[in-house]
Every structure is written in structure tokens, then in C-alpha cells.
């Protein structure tokens, strides 16, 4: 497998994304809104009715749960991109000439994966940085220390977020092989974020204490296993024979 080939394909996809406003909005605007909104809400809600902000005990359970928003984004955004780029190729019927070049199926699949992975991850991590800085600014006087960065946030952002994004891409490769309408693909594709939303809710309800490092590592381990399983299925779906004779 030659990474250079995959990168050529990813670069081509980046170029097509740039021509699509809704893709750019999804990649950049959504993480930015979340990153500014959450700290503002904390600040505003805490000082409502002349109160002096959330008590420290509440802040330290809210903030870890908030980082899980980024896990939800990691499920959602690559899904939108991947289904656009894969079903897009299908609708434009551009996979056949692409497959006729001296490029292997794995190289093409990886290229498509990179294209759907890198921009959202960059935007999510950028947004998360803004989120952490702003949160520190609005909670520092209450806590007496800067809550971020910390190990748990690092596990969420650098381990779980990429794993979730990979899962999202893989899931969408599989979905894209079955549908031929970008919007339908996106609607089904985005379902991949449901488990992450579930994790967030479970955290908020304290069913899974998300402040506990071990819990995070266990969830990351499960994501890894699911990623590997889905990789297997996605790879089997993305074979030239399948694409040209069975993809609808």
C-alpha cells in the first residue's frame, strides 16, 4: 500500500470540499459554535439572577461531561463528509475511471478515509482548545485552579475522538455502498453518533462516571475493537468487484 496514492486522492477531495459551502460549514462552524457556546452558557447560567456562578462541585462534574460533546461531533462530522465524498463519487460515476488507474482498492479507501478524517479532527481539536481556554477563564476564580488541560480530557480528545471519527468513516463506507442518495446516506450515516450521545447522557445521569480515568479507557478500548471490526466489513465492501457490480 502506497500512502502517496491515498494522499493524492485525499488532496483531490479537499479541493472538492472547498467548493461546497455546506461541507465547510459542517466542518468548521459547528465545532466553533459548540466551543464558544458552552463556556458562555456556563458563565451566563451561573450568574443568572445575581448568583455568583456555579458551585465548584457542580463545575467539576459538568466540565468532563462537556468534553464528550466533542465525541459526538467526532461521530457526526466525518460521517457527513464521508457520505458526501463516497456517495458523491457514486453519483458522478467517477469510481470506475478511478479504479482503472494503477491504484489499489485499499489505497483508494484509505484516501477517502483520510479526506473524511483530517479536516473534522483538525476542526474538533481546534474547537476543543478554544473551549478549554474559555472554560478555564470563566471557572478559574471559582475553582482556584485551571481545570484544563487534564489527563481525562487528553484521553477523550486524543484517543476517543479519533477512534470515534474512524468509526464514523467506516460506518459511512458501509452505508454508502447501499444507498445512492447523498441525503439518505447522511441521514443513516449520522446514526453512528447515537452511541456517543448515549455515553454523554449516561455520563450526565452518572450511570457511567465520566470523570473516572478507567471508565474512559474501557470505552476507548471498546471503540478500538468496534473500529477493527468495522474496518474488516468496510474493506470487504470496498472491493472493485463489489463496487462495480453490486453497489446500487
Amino acid at each position: 500500500m502506497r500512502l502517496s496514492k491515498s494522499w493524492i486522492i485525499a488532496e483531490k477531495d479537499f479541493k472538492t470540499f472547498r467548493k461546497r459551502k455546506n461541507i465547510i460549514y459542517t466542518i468548521i462552524v459547528v465545532p466553533l459554535i459548540v466551543s464558544f457556546l458552552l463556556p458562555i452558557v456556563i458563565d451566563y447560567a451561573g450568574h443568572k439572577n445575581g448568583a455568583s456562578g456555579f458551585p465548584a462541585s457542580e463545575i467539576i462534574t459538568l466540565l468532563p461531561a462537556f468534553t464528550f460533546f466533542y465525541l459526538i461531533l467526532a461521530g457526526m462530522i466525518p460521517s457527513t463528509i464521508a457520505s458526501y465524498s463516497l456517495v458523491g463519487e457514486k453519483v458522478e460515476k467517477s469510481l470506475e475511471p478511478l479504479l482503472a488507474t494503477p491504484t489499489t482498492d485499499s489505497e483508494i479507501l484509505l484516501g477517502k478515509g483520510i479526506a473524511a478524517f483530517i479536516p473534522p479532527i483538525a476542526a474538533i481539536l481546534g474547537g476543543a482548545t478554544i473551549f478549554m481556554v474559555l472554560m478555564d477563564l470563566v471557572t478559574q476564580d471559582k475553582l482556584g485552579y485551571y481545570f484544563f488541560p487534564n489527563w481525562n480530557a487528553a484521553i477523550v480528545l486524543f484517543l476517543m475522538v479519533p477512534l470515534a471519527a474512524i468509526m464514523s468513516v467506516e460506518w459511512n463506507v458501509i452505508v454508502s455502498s447501499k444507498v445512492s442518495d447523498v441525503r439518505v446516506a447522511q441521514q443513516i450515516g449520522v446514526l453512528v453518533m447515537l452511541p456517543f450521545a448515549g455515553i454523554y447522557v449516561a455520563g450526565e445521569l452518572n450511570l457511567i462516571p465520566l470523570g473516572v480515568t478507567n471508565n474512559l479507557l474501557i470505552i476507548a478500548g471498546i471503540l478500538l475493537v468496534v473500529d477493527l471490526l468495522l474496518l474488516f466489513v468496510a474493506r470487504a465492501t470496498f472491493r472493485r468487484e463489489e463496487i462495480l457490480t453490486k453497489w446500487k
Partner: protein, 306 residues
């Protein structure tokens, strides 16, 4: 050189391509002629290593179709114009080609040179920075052809490149194929248009799941069409009949002063026949060609198979 031996592809119960054996020499324009559903696209896809064969053999040059190690090498030396152009609509004409050039490992200089050369040859150079999605059908087809040539392949597969084009664009595409032929490229041309095949191909194969016939246009006409030249004379004489015996023509039937002669290629042979009659002292009143043309023969072959 492209060669197949009993090449077969099945889709479940359906046999799409049945035991096709053919050979295309280097530098030949090969017309692969058949109606819709004949198996042309399926054959080309097998030859381009896009789908697998069910049985039989096929080779391109020294490489074996179906051999995993050879398939990348084959794809390097061939170009494909698929039945659907498959361009990236949001990208410019230039970027569409440049992307493919990179996938074929062309250097930047090669890409620049070939993109300019082919876009100019096809009259698209002025539109190089325009998004391909805004192009007309004919322009898209030309761009897809330029794309298939970006790495300067010796062998080009074209899947019905003039289907659904207006006559003007079809003509440009045909002329361009003839230009490519001058460059000694081997062209495997799928078409359902007999006239097109006759006009630009050196050799034609008629496919209808099975290979029905193969040969040059003349060979096909001789073998399948069975045409006759009818000559009305003022007065038939033995001298005329004797003169005709010396010519390489088929059966000569006599009916009063009317001769009906079996000829493989009336366009070529009628002049010699008429000349021989005149030399023998005959007066020709009229010459007509009857019987089936290659077109009738083609339609007959195609119907027989159904």
C-alpha cells in the same frame, strides 16, 4: 496486443460474455460491435482489470488478466474511457486531468505538457479552468478522453464514446480517434453503431454475448453479407460469359440478357466486371447491387442470437 481465449463472465445465472476469443494487434483500431446488453462493457471491464472473469484467459501484452501481480502493471499501460464519463463536476477541467496524471505517477512537467497537448487537440484549452460540471455532453466526453490519455498509454479502451453525442461532437471524437491511430496507439472501441465501426476500424468483431463474427470490414462483408451485382445487357454473348469466368467472382446466373453475379465487395469489384464485359464487346444498360449489406447481415446476426 490484446488477446482473449474463451473469455467468459457470468452474473449469477446470466452469462454476459460467453467464451469470447479474439486478438487485437498493436496499432489497430478494433471495433467491438454489438447491441445493448451484448456484453461489450463487461468485456472491457474484465480487460481493464476492473471486474474478474469467470473463466477463460486474456492477456494484454505480456501481462495476464486475473493475475493479481499483473493487474497494476496492466492498468499502468492502458487508458479507459468508461461508458459514463465520471468526471468531478466541481473541479476544473485542468484539475480533473491533473489528479489523474498524479495517480499515474506522471511528473509535473509531463502532466503540464500532456494536459495542454490533449486539451488543445480536443478544443478545450480555453475552458481549462472551468468546472467540468458546466460542460456540455460533448465537452465532457472529450475531457474524459483527454483524461484517459494523460499518461500516454499505448492501449486505449473506449466504451461507446459517441453514444448520446450530437453529430458534430461525434464527428470530432471520431476524427480524434483517427488521429490517435496515426500515433500508432491500439484502440479497443466499443460501439453499437455499425457505420462508425465501418468508418474508423481496421477490424470489427460482432458480439452478442457470444462472438458472432470477426474480421476486417471486407472480410465480414464477404463472409456474412452475400451481395449480388445485377447487370442488364443489351445482348448477352459467350465471349462475355468467358470473360467473366476469368474474374475472381462467385456464381454467375443468367436470365435472358440479365446477369446476376455473386460478389463479396461490389464497390470494389464492379468496375472490373463492367470493364471485362465491355472488352468482350458487351453493352451495359444498367448495373445494380442487390442483397444484404453488412448492416443487414449485422442485424440478422444479432437477431438470430436472441
Amino acid at each position: 496486443m490484446i488477446e482473449t481465449k474463451n473469455l467468459t463472465r457470468k452474473f449469477g445465472e446470466l452469462t454476459a460474455v460467453d467464451s469470447v476469443s479474439l486478438r487485437v494487434e498493436d496499432g489497430e483500431v478494433f471495433g467491438f460491435l454489438g447491441p445493448n446488453g451484448a456484453g461489450k462493457t463487461t468485456t472491457v471491464r474484465m480487460l481493464c482489470c476492473l471486474i474478474s472473469k469467470t473463466s477463460g484467459e486474456a492477456r494484454i501484452g505480456d501481462y495476464e488478466i486475473g493475475n493479481a501481480a499483473d493487474s497494476l502493471k496492466i492498468r499502468k499501460i492502458i487508458g479507459l474511457v468508461p461508458d459514463n464519463v465520471g468526471l468531478y463536476d466541481t473541479l476544473s477541467a485542468y484539475d480533473n486531468l491533473d489528479f489523474y496524471g498524479k495517480l499515474y505517477d506522471c511528473t509535473e512537467a509531463q502532466r503540464k505538457e500532456n494536459i495542454e497537448r490533449f486539451l488543445k487537440m480536443l478544443g478545450l484549452w480555453e475552458k481549462k479552468d472551468v468546472a467540468a460540471g458546466t460542460f456540455s455532453k460533448g465537452m465532457k466526453q472529450k475531457l474524459a478522453i483527454a483524461r484517459s490519455l494523460i499518461h500516454d498509454p499505448q492501449i486505449l479502451f473506449m466504451d461507446e464514446p459517441t453514444a448520446n453525442l450530437d453529430p458534430e461532437s461525434s464527428r470530432t471524437v471520431r476524427d480524434f480517434i483517427l488521429d490517435l491511430k496515426k500515433e500508432k496507439r491500439t484502440i479497443f472501441l466499443n460501439t453499437h453503431n455499425l457505420d462508425e465501426a465501418q468508418r474508423i476500424c481496421d477490424k470489427i468483431a460482432i458480439l452478442n454475448t457470444k462472438l458472432m463474427a470477426i474480421g476486417t470490414t471486407e472480410e465480414l462483408e464477404r463472409s456474412v453479407s452475400g451481395r449480388k451485382t445485377v447487370i442488364q445487357l443489351e445482348q448477352l454473348s459467350d465471349a462475355i460469359l468467358a470473360a467473366l469466368k476469368k474474374l475472381p467472382v462467385g456464381n454467375v446466373a443468367v436470365d435472358g440478357n440479365k446477369l446476376t453475379i455473386d460478389v463479396a465487395n461490389p464497390e470494389k469489384e464492379n468496375a472490373a466486371i463492367v470493364e471485362a464485359i465491355i472488352r468482350a464487346g458487351g453493352h451495359v444498360q444498367s448495373v445494380t447491387v442487390v442483397g444484404s449489406s453488412l448492416e443487414d447481415a449485422y442485424l440478422k446476426l444479432v437477431r438470430e442470437a436472441k
